[in-house]
């Protein structure tokens, strides 16, 4: 209430000051009109000019401005909303792609690991097989060598026995029947085999 009183006083205060000034000035210059000169004519002209401004500008100036402002507001709002949506979508996509990329990377390294493991297995298998084959070949070669040596030795015994027999027959000129002949050969071979074993050992 005090504020209202203050307000009233402040509003009314200038009026007497102006009235006083008006009176003083009017007294100073008799033919000058007063400060508050005016009448209904001023009211009518004010209404005419002001309302003309209100209606004409309302129709031809404020309308376009207001529409432009509203449209711009709407456009900016929409653009911001759209930008926000786009950003959120982009972030979601980025997240998705990052996950996919991580997954792909993990898959790739898994594939490489698996390949390496497989290669390791294959390498080991091939190496084992090669070694086994080599061993088998070696074994076979040894066996063949042994067989060849045995047969060669045997052949040598036989040849030796035959030569010995011929030499002996020729030397002693004695006639030997075929049975005794065979027994003599067997004895000679056994004798040679014993000799070989004793030499090997």
């Amino acid at each position: 209430m005090i504020d209202r009183t203050k307000q009233l006083v402040l509003m009314v205060l200038p009026a007497p000051v102006l009235l006083f000034a008006d009176g003083a000035m009017a007294a100073a210059a008799e033919d000058s009109p007063g400060l508050f000169t005016g009448n209904l004519g001023n009211i009518i002209w004010t209404l005419i000019t002001f309302l003309a401004v209100v209606f004409v500008l309302g129709k031809f100036a404020w309308g376009p401005i207001l529409r432009a402002l509203q449209k711009r507001e709407e456009f900016i709002g929409d653009s911001l909303r759209q930008a926000k949506e786009d950003r959120e979508q982009a972030q979601a996509q980025l997240k998705e792609y990052t996950e996919q990329l991580d997954k792909a990377r993990a898959d790739a390294s898994a594939i490489v690991d698996e390949g390496r493991r497989d290669a390791e297995v294959v390498k080991r298998r091939i190496s084992n097989e090669a070694r086994a084959e080599a061993d088998a070949m070696l074994e076979r070669a040894k066996r063949e060598i042994a067989t060849a040596r045995d047969s060669a030795v045997k052949e040598l015994y036989q040849l030796t026995a035959k030569l010995s027999t011929e030499v002996a027959a020729r030397v002693i000129r004695a006639e030997l029947d075929s049975k005794a002949h065979e027994r003599l050969i067997e004895e000679s071979i056994e004798e040679l085999a014993r000799l070989r074993e004793s030499r090997d050992n």
Partner: protein
């Protein structure tokens, strides 16, 4: 101005109304009425041209502020967002054309009053109206009948829209206390409403008159001293003219400021009448008080 002062006229001469045509007690034409008409004609001719922009077919370009219309639009946008929206809320766009009109009408009347048109137009006026003493010039808003009419338009807007939009709640607003206090409160509230309008009228009038009178008094010193000695008049003249230039700058500022205050308070009062919140009563008064101070 200086011519008149030199002739020993009153400093009030260029703020008062000089009648050209009068019929049956009605002033049909005067210097201030001519300025009002000039302001209205300028507004009506210039503004629709300035704000209209040719469509370029590009949505973004059409919505981009450009051209001189952008200057008007910036002021309009400020009034709409910073003045009207806080007071009128969802009713903003309904009243904004009136608010913009009030602002630019008052502003043009204020600014045109600063132009030294009077000495230039005096021969023309004298040629048309041989009995005229004064050329066209002066602030139309320096006439209390004009500011009173403008303030009354605000009151009509307040009461009419208060009843139309606020309805019963607007009427209830006249008796904010218990019902038995109504005989006391209702007159106080009505006086309050009238006082607000009266203040609106006097504030604009007094501000417009005061600046012009101050300038006239300052400039009259030159002639007062000059009548005694030429050198003294010259010395005082240099001082007074430099001070007057500064005051003129202040006057330009005051022209904008008073147009803004008139518009701001009009908006605020309309807002108080139509945006009725139960708890916001004090807040509105707080804002009104802040505006007064």
């Amino acid at each position: 101005m200086t011519g008149l002062l030199g002739a020993g006229s009153s400093p009030l001469d260029h703020v008062v109304q000089w009648e050209y045509v009068q019929r049956g007690g009605l002033t049909l034409l005067s210097n201030q009425i001519a300025m009002q008409i000039l302001a209205a004609v300028l507004l009506i001719l210039l503004f629709p041209r300035l704000v209209r922009l040719a469509s370029t077919g590009d949505t973004v370009r059409d919505l981009t502020p450009r051209g001189f219309g952008n200057f008007i639009e910036t002021i309009c946008n400020y009034l709409r967002n910073e003045v009207a929206r806080p007071a009128l809320e969802r009713h903003t766009d309904r009243f904004i054309p009136y608010i913009w009109s009030a602002f630019f009408y008052v502003l043009f009347c204020n600014l045109l009053g600063l132009l030294p048109l009077e000495p230039l137009t005096r021969p023309l006026v004298r040629a048309i109206f041989p009995h005229a003493h004064h050329g066209i010039g002066g602030s139309a808003t320096g006439n209390i009948w004009v500011t009173g009419t403008l303030a009354s338009c605000t009151m009509v807007m307040i009461v009419f829209n208060g009843l139309r939009i606020g309805g019963v709640r607007y009427l209830a607003h006249f008796c904010p206390g218990p019902l038995w206090l109504a005989p006391l409160l209702v007159p106080v509230e009505i006086i309050g409403l009238v006082a607000k309008i009266f203040a609106l009228c006097v504030r604009l009038f007094a501000n417009m008159v005061a600046g012009h009178v101050l300038l006239a008094v300052l400039l009259s010193f030159i002639f007062v001293v000059g009548a005694e000695s030429f050198a003294g008049g010259l010395g005082v003249g240099v001082l007074v003219v430099s001070v007057s230039v500064a005051f003129y700058m202040l006057e330009i500022f005051v022209a904008f400021l008073q147009a803004f205050i008139f518009t701001f308070l009009t908006t605020l009062f309309i807002g108080q009448a139509i945006v009725l919140h139960h708890s916001d009563h004090e807040g509105d008064h707080g804002r009104a008080k802040a505006a007064h101070e």
